[in-house]
Every structure is written in C-alpha cells, then in structure tokens.
Symmetry: C3
Subunit: 277 residues, 3 copies
C-alpha cells in the first residue's frame, strides 16, 4: 500500500516545473502539468538556463528532438539545478537509436546528477547495457524483463529508474515497485511517456518522500487517470482519448487513486545487488 | 457599448497574420486564427522575415521559447512591418523571469514600433516598472491593479496595452476599458494568452478602428467564446475545453458577442496622466 | 477501382516514418501516423540524420518552419535515404512565399531524388512554373486546374505529384487519378495537408505498389477518414473535428474505404505529354 498524499500537496504548492522537452509533445506536457496542478515553464535558450532555476522546483530533460544547442541548454540547467538541490529528471527518448543521442545522454549522466531516469524498455535497456532490439523511439523487444532493466539502470547510475510498459517498474536498486495501472491506449498517442516524465517532475518538485516513492505515486496517478480517461464513453480512439486524459488528470482525487491503485513490491535479493556491473 | 463589427469583416478579408510564437502553443495559435477567420503563417527563418511582410496584414511576436536566432528574426520582421505600416503585436511571455528576456524585449521595444502589447499582470507589471512577485511565466501577485498596469505600460511605451486577468484591461493611456468576459478555465490550458494575442493580431489586421477599440473587440470575442466553450456539456476539464474553445471561436457570431459583452469604460484622469514616468 | 490493401499491411508492418516537419503540426503528424498504424520518428539534428535511415522505411520532408539548420538535416537524411532505397516525400509548404523557401526546395529537388511531392494548388503551381496568386501558405487562386498542375509537376521533376483540393489529383505524368473524398472542414484545421503527406509516407513505406497507386490509397483513406470524422455528431467545429479525425484514422477499415471511395481515372494524352517543358 502506498499512501498517495502528494497530489493534494502538489495542488497546494503549484510548483514550477522547468521542462526542456521535444517540440512534438511540448504542448501536451505543459497541459498535463497544468492539469495535475503544477506550473510549466519551457524556456530553452542557453542564455537563460542558469536563471530559470531561481523559480524551478524540478527540471525535466527530454531528448526527443535534441539539437546541440538544446543539449548545451540542458547541461547548464542541469548543473544549476544540482547546485540548488532541485531534482533533475532525464527522459532519454530514443537513446539507442543514434550515436548523437548516446553521446548526449552519456554527457548528461556524467556532468549532471540525475535523481530519476524514465523511459521505455528499449531506451532503458540501452542504458543498462542489455542487448535489445529497438526501432527508433519505440520500446522494441528483448529478453530482459522491465524489472531487471529498471534495477540495472538504478544500480549502474545510482539513481531511481522507471521503466514504462504493461507493468511499469520503478527501482532504486534495492527495492522495486511494479505498477499495473494504465491502459494500452497510452501507446497510441505520441508523447504519453513524455507527459509521464513531466508529471514525475511535478511529484519530485513537491518532495517530502524518497524519490522512489514519489515516482510510484506519479506513475500510479497517471495510470489511474488513463484508466478513467478510456472509460469515458465519448472516447472513440486516440484523438478523443488524448483530451480525456488531460480531463482525467485535472479531475483526479487521491481517493480515486487509492481505490484503483494496483501495485506490487519486489525486494531485490542481495546476490543480485552484487552482480550489477 | 462597443459596436463589434470587425468579426464579419475579418471573415470576409481573411487576413494573413504572421506569428513568431513559441513552440509550445504554435498549433493552438494557428488553429485559433483559422477558427476566428484569419490565415496563419508561422515562418521563423531570419532569411525570409523581410519577405513575409509582402502578405502579412499583422505581425505577432511572442517570446515564450525565445532563442537568439528567433530574436533576430523578430527584429527583421518587426522593422519590415513598421516600414509597410503593418501592425505589430508583442506578447512578452515571462519577461520578468530572466535577463535574457528582459534584454530581448527592451531591444524589440527600442527598435520596433509596437502597436499593442498584451500580457498577464506579472509580465506587464515588469514592463511598467511596478514591483511584482512573479514565478516563471505565471501572472503572480502584486499591489497594483490590472488597470493601473495597463495604463502605465500604454503611457510608458506610447502604445496600447492589454493586461489579461479576471477582468482584462485595455488602455491607450487616456481611456481604459475593462472586459469582464472570459472563464477561469482559460488559466488551466497552456497558451490561452498566446491565442488571445494572435487573435488581437487578426483584429488589428482588419483595421478600420483605433487599436484600442479593435483590441477590445478581440478580447471580448475571445472571452465570450470561452464562456460558450465552458457551457458545452461535453466539457469535463481543460482537455475537452481546449477543443471546445476552438469550436466556439469558429461558431461565434457578432450578435452573440453583443448579447454577452460585459465591458466597463474608465477615463484616466488628467493628474494621473501627468505622473506616469 | 482501386484495391486498397495497403492499410492492413501497414498495420502489420508498423513501419517507422521519419518526418522532419514543421513545429506547428509535428504533434498532429505524429498522432495521425500512430493512428493509421505507422511509427513516427521526428529527430532533426543534422548529426543523427545519416543514422536514422537505419530504421526509417520512409522519409518525409516538410518545410513549414524551415531554418538553415533544418535544411541541412533534410539534405543529409534525403541523400542517405536515396542510398538505401528509402522513399522520400517532399511537402513544399508555402514554397512560393519566399526566396528562402524557393532556393531550399530547388536544392532539395536537385540533390535528393524525391518519390512523391505533395502540396496545395498554390505550392504545386509554383513548382510547375504556372502563374498563380498565392498568399503565404494558403492555396490561393489561378487559372490552371489541379489536374494540370499535378501532371506538370510530375513530368517536370519525373516524380509522382499529389495536389490537394476539393478534388485531389495524383499523377505520375502519364496517368492521373482524381480523389473526390474529403471534407471542407480539412481546410479549417492547421496541418491537415502535413498529416496527409505524413500518411503518404506511411503508405510508401509499406511498398508493394507503384508510388502512384500507394499515394491514391493514402489520399483516399485520409479523405474517407475526414468524411467519417465530420459525421460524428459530437463534432461542432474544427477543434472537435481534429480529435475526431485522429479517431477516424484509428478506426478505419479497408472495407469502409472501398465502400466510400470516390475516384476518377484520367489518361494523359500523348500530345500533352510532349509539350510539358
């Protein structure tokens, strides 16, 4: 059982979440942040990246349409966030697809302390060093389970890792939590993973819980919202689902999340812990 | 009473409005321009900025995701528009937040003659030189009223100023008009201020009225559309409201605007006029 | 009669379509690709353009918000696609509007072999060298018919040309096919032409038919989806139509397309063929 008390806190505090996200999804990320109760900011000029951390309570870096200029901005804002103790979330969209993305993510992981990495199985398997057959920005297929991938990424980078999928897995390398909430319709709308990493940013911005637990709350809230959105009888496909998802995030209550949460806890056994690298 | 005769003219003339807007909201700005009856163009390469003023009947500059390259484009298109007598609208998104934005707006105001500045209270208070507590791109809080802010910005920059809020205030420094139409749901969707500045561009493009009056028509039309959109019984949150707002702009008639307009006129007294700077 | 068998194949193969599209419409293009059954990728850094052709089964180049950096990326990915036999689709948005766009398209046509050019009458008339009165990115007006324009572009550039309008015309210079499916509401939503060029990319990615026939299937499917979308009784304007269009693409079946297709075949006569350039 998870307590789910961050949503009301989030709506009271209305934290500013600074997102450098890809241009395909920036509107949906901003609207999902507003719907859940946060305040989005999406500046991306390197010249102002140091200063935006004056207001930001979390920084989300999403490499979906990365350019060298955007990478420069990410490095500045990431380091500034680290100095001020502002949590940094990394969403390594399509990292396995090209050397440019691999090098960018490697640089971000080296120069910025990341509190949470979120991605699909293909992206996270690449980071875990696990063989995987991906295709562009899709999850693809491979032999490791989402759980194994999350645990490996968490231990390898000493961070919290969230792997999205039919069952989402969130791990800090010692404890892993599976979230079974959600709906397959999420895979038919672009940017639903990017919205989730944004919402994780909002939950981490509120604080008061370990990153692992905050992330589990965020993933559960989002999964429950998707379930509610798809039940709306006006929803007839991904176009109407997308609007319904924003509505569901906006109308979500802690009680509904508690009623619908479907979570499993896994303890990482000691011998596995020792064999991570 | 305002006459509200620009909407039909706008739909007959279908003016091209050139917007350099931020990437988060560009789709919604384009669709709201189409819905109201204008034709959006959103080029942003500095190389073509001189030439786009061949077609443009108004130019809207929105600094939401400004970069140095985009600023360069804005300066070129703004000056070209000035030469041809094409009205220029400035939406100084988040101007108070960073020095980069402050310098950019200061440069735009110095090198380009701006016919209308639109923004929320926080952004406009910054331009008015009034102490204000803003947070990123949000309106924030302060002691001056929206009316005072609008009047100060209008006089300081010898332009028309529109401050959005629960009551919108439009002022040319001598006369101020308050528009009480609108709905709080507008604050829960990203880019609704940017859509309004775009629509102001469309109304200024049509011409035939002083900028103050055209802006009041635009703000009233937009506020009325928001009221209609929220009354739609399918609307269940900001996701469905956003689509409904575009529908309402598309279906808006001058008669509906006249029936629902809620406007107040304020005369700026002489002594205030003298103390502005 | 057209056989319409590519839709099911597309949904089975789920091809990755790499689109460099404009920032105004990138979200809608991605969602329409997902809805029809393809997998969108939208990277745009020149550094990774060579590599993305590892996965891409089609490349779509849309110049709506072109910059010199994006043009550079287009040239790299276009040439790489040519080497690997991956079809390239060009959507020359607003090409007539500025010299910058004219030179960019001229460079793309010279350095990249394009399998399909899609555009509205104004854009395609410019490419055909036909006098036309356009306004920005709109279709505008002129004396030639859509059919003539399509045929001229096809012959001039030895490619397949698709001209969108009340009747869409697709031509390879010898055979021209008119598609009467569609709905005027498509002209009230930004990016509906860009979504169509994206979907053409998905159909060309599947292959197994000449480009002319694949394009006709794509245009028919899209037009039928628009007809279904507008019949939805929840649709009350362009905002709700836009979501409904994505839903209709998602729910589309080959049988529905066959039942609703409205296609005409025109043979280009020999003497016309000889007089094209």
């Amino acid at each position: 059982m998870t307590t789910h008390y961050l949503l009301n806190k989030l709506r009271q505090e209305n934290p500013l979440v600074h997102s450098i996200t890809n241009q395909v999804v920036s509107n949906d990320v901003a609207n999902s942040l507003l719907a859940i109760g946060a305040s989005p900011m999406m500046a991306m000029a390197p010249e102002e990246m140091e200063e935006v951390t004056k207001f930001a309570k979390a920084v989300v870096l999403n490499i979906g349409t990365l350019t060298t200029e955007i990478l420069e901005a990410m490095l500045i804002v990431g380091k500034a966030a680290n100095k001020k103790g502002v949590p940094v979330i990394l969403d390594p969209v399509g990292v396995g697809a090209t050397q440019f993305r691999q090098e960018a993510v490697s640089m971000l992981l080296k120069e910025v302390t990341i509190q949470l990495i979120t991605g699909n199985a293909g992206e996270m398997a690449y980071l875990a060093g696990i063989d995987w057959s991906s295709k562009g920005v899709d999850a693809g297929e491979g032999k490791a389970s989402g759980r194994e991938i999350a645990e490996r990424v968490a231990r390898r980078y000493q961070t919290v890792a969230a792997v999205s999928g039919k069952e989402d897995f969130v791990s800090d390398g010692r404890m892993t939590i599976g979230i079974l909430n959600g709906d397959p319709m999420l895979t038919r709308v672009t940017g639903t993973g990017c919205m989730l990493s944004g919402i994780c940013g909002a939950y981490l911005a509120v604080g008061g819980k370990p990153v692992l637990e905050s992330t589990v709350e965020a993933c559960t809230a989002y999964g429950v919202a998707a379930e509610i959105a798809v039940e709306n009888k006006e929803v007839n496909g991904p176009g109407s689902f997308r609007a319904s998802l924003i509505d569901a995030l906006y109308n979500l209550s802690e009680q509904t999340i508690r009623d619908k949460e479907n979570i499993k806890r896994y303890h990482v056994n000691k011998s596995e812990e020792g064999t991570n690298e």
